[in-house]
């Protein structure tokens, strides 16, 4: 039983890992077909993973409603929003528009989801400005460098900034294309080396936390 519960999953990981690592180095139509099929398979399995996440959300709010905990009315709103969207979406066949006219599903997307999403992210502008006011004091040389870079980039992104400081546009582009790019590149190389090391550990069974806990 321990073979089925513990060793076989590790074996599956090792075989699939080595197979698809090797696939990259085989320039053959069969190899390409394997990659295309695997990508499709991943999308299908990912769909089932969504069921796990959604069920967890359903359960959490259902418990809140059943026990009538504080704010359970909002959970009802969440349920109503979700169920109405699903019903309307399935009715429209998952299409936002049909024959050039907007469906009810498209209406929900355009007049509910887009404004809600846009506003949620837009209010972050206020919180970022507030955080900047509190933390952007040039207490050290490094903080001063950060502050100056941020101000130049902000000025360079708007016409008013370029009008007030004509060079800010070019300097902003230089900071983003050269200085920022070099740092991103260094971080990317570091993260990539970590990813490769972790992938090797997973394939060879050193890292097993993805299998979950438990005795077996």
């Amino acid at each position: 039983m321990i073979f089925l519960r513990r060793r076989l999953p590790l074996l599956i990981t090792m075989i699939t890992g080595l197979l698809f690592a090797g696939q990259y180095y085989v320039p053959h139509p069969a190899s390409e077909w394997l990659l295309t099929s695997a990508t499709k398979w991943l999308q299908i399995i990912g769909g089932f993973a969504l069921v796990l996440g959604v069920t967890s959300l359903f359960h959490q709010h259902a418990v809140k409603i059943r026990r009538q905990e504080a704010g359970w009315g909002y959970s009802l709103v969440l349920y109503a929003g979700m169920l109405v969207t699903i019903a309307v979406g399935l009715w429209a066949g998952g299409k936002e528009s049909l024959d050039g006219s907007m469906t009810a599903f498209g209406w929900i997307y355009s007049y509910m989801m887009v404004p809600l999403q846009g506003t949620m992210f837009a209010i972050l502008a206020f919180f970022i400005a507030s955080a900047a006011y509190r933390s952007f004091r040039a207490r050290s040389r490094e903080a001063a460098v950060l502050l100056i870079a941020a101000v130049i980039v902000m000025m360079g992104r708007v016409p008013l900034g370029e009008y007030l400081i004509p060079l800010s546009g070019d300097v902003s582009q230089w900071i983003l294309n050269v200085l920022n790019a070099s740092v991103r590149r260094a971080i990317l190389i570091g993260v990539s080396l970590g990813t490769i090391a972790l992938s090797l550990k997973i394939i060879f069974g050193v890292e097993r936390s993805y299998l979950g806990g438990g005795k077996e």
Binding site: L4, R5, P9, L10, I12, T13, G17, F20, K40, W41, L42, I44, I45, F48, L50, L52, V54, G71, Y74, V77, L78, A80, G81, M82, T85, G89, S101, F105, I108, Y109, M113, P115, L116, T119, F121, A122, I123, A125, E142, I148, A149, A150, V153, M154, L176, V178, L179, N180, S182, V183, R184, A186, L188, I189, G190, S192, T195, S199, I203, E216
Partner: protein
Amino acid sequence: MPQPVSVTDMDATILGAWMATGLTLFIFSFLYQDNPLFKLAEHLYVGVSVGYTIVKAYDTVIVHLIVKPIVEEGQIALLIPVAIGLLMLTRYVPRAAWMSRYAFAFIVGLGSGLAIPRTISSFVLKQVEDTIRPLLFQAGDGLTFSFNLLNPASSLNAVIILIGVSTVLFYFFFSIEHSGPGKIVARTGIVFLMIAFGAAFGYTVMARMSLLIGRLTDLIEFSDVSYGRPTWWLLMLTIAVLVLLARRVPNRPPDLH
């Protein structure tokens, strides 16, 4: 000649304007303080987003990747990923929960296998190649060193990028002590990091400002009489609710201390 707008389309647009304006103002009301209007819009956002994701996943995965290929094209092999996906759901049956490991093992193994060669090629070798570039260019009869800072591919910028990448990588390399000359290199790396963080911050702020301008533009548009001025009516309603909530004396539990 413009096409006449049907009554139904017009009604949907006006109703949509009222809905979008109301939800936008409810979210903005959080700038004053946390309140029931914000919570209502927040929970509605989660509900609608999850519902939208479910519908899209159903349409993409169930209809277009499973049902149509199997029923119309006879791709029976697709039953294998369906079976693997169903194994994930065994997590809800405690006695069979261990079977979900097969699904996770397959996904993690596949992901790891795909990641290794592609990460080495695209994110390590390609990045190193772009960092170590020739410093001299062929121009006319001889070689030249370009000092043009505005051209990201110039020689001077190539040197700056090389210094930036090397010093930042050194800063994150903790196997040797950052002292002596190493301290200077690490501090140079910190300066590069601070500039990048500042640039990222400034860029993010401006992106959020752009979104904010978009929402305010909508509010201005929906204040028009052709929509029934939803911005003004719903703004008054929101303010009235906030005033009422602020005036309501909270029922505090008695102090036990």
